[in-house]
Symmetry: C2
Subunit: 142 residues, 2 copies
Amino acid sequence: MTPFDHPPVGMNLARTAKVIAQAFDAALVEAGGTLPVWLTLLSIKSRELANQRELAGMIGIQGATLTHHLNAMEAQGLLTRRRDPDNRRVHQVALTEAGEVMFLKLRTAALAFDKRLRAGLSDERLADFAEVLAALRANVEV
Amino acid sequence: MTPFDHPPVGMNLARTAKVIAQAFDAALVEAGGTLPVWLTLLSIKSRELANQRELAGMIGIQGATLTHHLNAMEAQGLLTRRRDPDNRRVHQVALTEAGEVMFLKLRTAALAFDKRLRAGLSDERLADFAEVLAALRANVEV
DNA sequence: ATCGAATCATTCGATATCTAACTGTATGGG
DNA sequence: CCCATACAGTTAGATATCGAATGATTCGAT
């Protein structure tokens, strides 16, 4: 498949990330949510009253994409948006009761998936893995 | 950002894969193509006359998605589709002259990007990295 | 005090992807 | 032989994402 001496790192990374993301999404659908819904809930919980720019940054998506998800989740009754009275440009996002419930359900699924993923891999091995990921990111920035 | 003891592997993997894929796509756009175009060209070159099911499998996308890319690339004059006379269900895909030229240009960009990505990482380290990727994939299958 | 620049969010239009349904073609068991 | 089943590809409809343009608000420099 490749005109490369070594199997290309990037391709391997992309393929692996894809199958894992798909499996994770399937696990979350099982639990009544989706991957973007989980990421959005997680970002909101980790910093209540953050503005949308900050939430998008935590998730690693653009503001426009987050707006989309928030619209859907607001329609589903998982969250509310309210303008910050101190700075009426920003929308403060907060979870509803239903949003909290969904968060807890998806967290259970996410924790189980993370455990499944780490099976058979030592902490040192995973730490080195994370370091390589960081190095790859660094090699691409700038 | 997380209710996890350890930073979750999957999230780290997904984020890294995303920024690297974006950087790679940018490099390919610089060279006159895109990531899906490159992957399609590469899959065709690595097995001339393969059918679309096989090509999609090599790239890691569904047949329907490949159809989309082939339509666009055929319209651009990069490739041709012809029915296999021995089995009129299958379409044999072949590159045109322009497709060959594009392949060479994008290959140069891809090789340069791969080199940039590996900078500062030993072969052993990358080999172990690839093994962990394989283990993660295995942990998710079935 | 006002106007231009910056900031936050939304809207718009495009691309990539998926699944499911459909079309056309091949094949094998009765 | 022929029909049920399987297979290759396309089409249709949905979701996720991005970048660019727009709207609303704030801030700062003169």
